[in-house]
Amino acid sequence: MGSSRLRAAGDWLEQRLGLRPLFEGSAGHLVPSNASSWWYVFGSATLVCLVMQIATGICLALVYVPSADQAWESLQHLDFEQPFGWYLRGLHYWGSNFMVALMTLHMIQVFLFGAYKYPRELTWLCGCLLFLCTLGLAFTGQVLRFDQNAYWGLGIGVSIMGRIPLLGESLTSLVLGGPILAAETLTRFFSLHVFVLPGLVITLVVLHLRMVLHNGINEFPTRGRGVDPETYDAEYAELIERTGEPFFPNAIHKDLLFSAVVIGSILACAAIFGPKLPNGPPDPTLIDTVPRPDFYFLALFSVFALLPPYMETFLIVYVMPVVVLALFAIPFVSRSGAKHPADRPVAVAGVVLVMTTVMTLAVLGLSSDWSPHMDAWKSVAVPVEMVEGRSPLELRGAAVLQAKQCRNCHALDGSGGKRGPDLGDVATRLTEDQLIRQVLQGGGNMPAYGKNLSPPEVAALVAFLRTLSPADAAIAQNSADPLGG
């Protein structure tokens, strides 16, 4: 009796809402049974991150003040006074990290499984746009932290844009909202971060999902079987006919489990590591700062440090857009053929190559050895064994080495800047004449110190450097000198 009443009530509602066809066309659509795979969980997990970002983002916007003179203070308030403020900031920060990471995994999986091939070219294109928009959200979000890193990070962004011929100047003003980074810059980025980009992302996600439903989820690839656009549609229809099952509730369990793990991880990371705190007020006159981007842009940051200078502008202005276009063009260039990764060694090698490069660059960016250690000259002492038993002249040289900021770029047995070579064994590599020449004239990425060192200082410095060699190593000698001379 009770259940038939319930059914009647359900029917009554269904008659008015008409949800069943909607359900059958969406969550209940048929998927090939082999598409219920652990490999297929990254897309839905990215979507879950997006939902979390929207929820936490709306909450943060209730308190955050997007004004250049108060943004930083409002973050302090969020982090230390607002109940759960630090935790929501943590969730939003870690959510963004997870979203970028999962989206990347999703993209790699789609690429390796050949899922971008006929008839899913536009789905891939849409996904690429989503990727760019998400990175845009990551960058604009980093600016909203409006601290020293944000200020100088934007400065870096603007300098990059300034290298674009003809358009550079206009683009800079468009991004900054004027000729200089100021109040209007922050409100621009706020508007981009909370209105423009999320709106775009939501629209693109809808389109992306619509195409997934319309073309069907990619079947799990089979070795030796490729896509032939002539016959694919019929084959896919036949596969659905044979093995199709509704995504909800039959095939969704792995997505559900994985999403729960992802949410749990974000909650845990936010609880354990907390949010990324702003690193100092956005006061440009506080110049004792070493700007570093968030993780997703570290690889790019490294590229700019490691490229030979003559290639930089060329790479930024011409190569980067070509790389992005190439990403978009993949499904149109490789529209048919093998799908299984084992049949596509070049594709696999490409992914490995790209990911190794990006990760290596990012890890290098973490330590950024190319940056001078700006305080080493006054905070990193000369190791004791390098001054023990030295003559007064040599000790004077050690003092010159510190006072003239050499340590900012040169380490002594590992301590100090890493931009230049470690000087701990320099005596085994350079003769006295070579040392003098190098100090006075510079070269090989070292400034010339000729004008800023007096001859006695040079003599002392070189005398000290000549003592720097491991105990049993031979000292570099001028081969024209008589032995023992």
Binding site: W72, A183, P282, D283, N408
Partner: protein, 178 residues
């Protein structure tokens, strides 16, 4: 199929203009016009930052020249001439002032010519060093080493009534120096 001789086909006629189709087209046209009218102020509003309606540089005093000792380089700060009340600390722009001698100065932008990081002056070694990618400049702003493609950006300056003035107000980049 019948064998009857068929009437010659009439030329394909345009669908007759009915009241309905006329109003449909009129409606489309009016809405397109309305959209264009809305777009003009919107686009104008957004790109007003690019289309320069006012000067983006102005003469700004940096202080009495007595504040800058001969043959030394000092950090100076000026307030952005085009600031708004809610700029906060971002309105204060630092720069390096080198008094070459007498009334001859060099005023350098704080931004590294490579990618804009703030360069620091080290009087002991007479060098500007950049914390980002290790660009180094000599005291006169020339590149000493590292990736910068040119020397430090230099402000135009003048000395008037015992004060040092610079022309500033925009962020220097390779496509538009200070």
């Amino acid at each position: 199929m019948s064998d009857e001789p068929r009437e010659p086909m009439p030329p394909p006629a345009l669908p007759p203009v009915t009241r309905r189709s006329f109003l449909f087209k009129l409606g489309l046209g009016l809405n397109a016009l309305a959209a264009a009218l809305v777009a003009v102020p919107l686009i104008g509003y957004v790109i007003s930052a690019v289309v320069q309606t006012r000067a983006d540089q102005a003469w700004i005093p940096l202080g009495s020249i007595g504040d800058f000792p001969e043959r030394q380089t000092r950090l100076a700060t000026y307030r952005n001439p085009f600031r708004v009340a809610w700029d906060g600390t971002t309105a204060d722009i630092p720069c390096w002032v080198r008094r070459v001698g007498g009334e001859r100065f060099q005023v350098f932008a704080i931004n590294c010519a490579h990618l804009g990081c703030p360069v620091r002056w080290f009087p002991q070694s007479g060098l500007f060093m950049c914390p980002c990618h290790g660009g180094v400049y000599y005291e006169d702003g020339r590149v000493a080493s590292g990736p910068p493609p040119r020397g430090l950006f230099e402000y135009e300056y003048k000395v008037s009534q015992g004060s040092l003035w610079v022309r500033g107000g925009r962020v220097p980049t390779l496509s538009q120096t200070v």
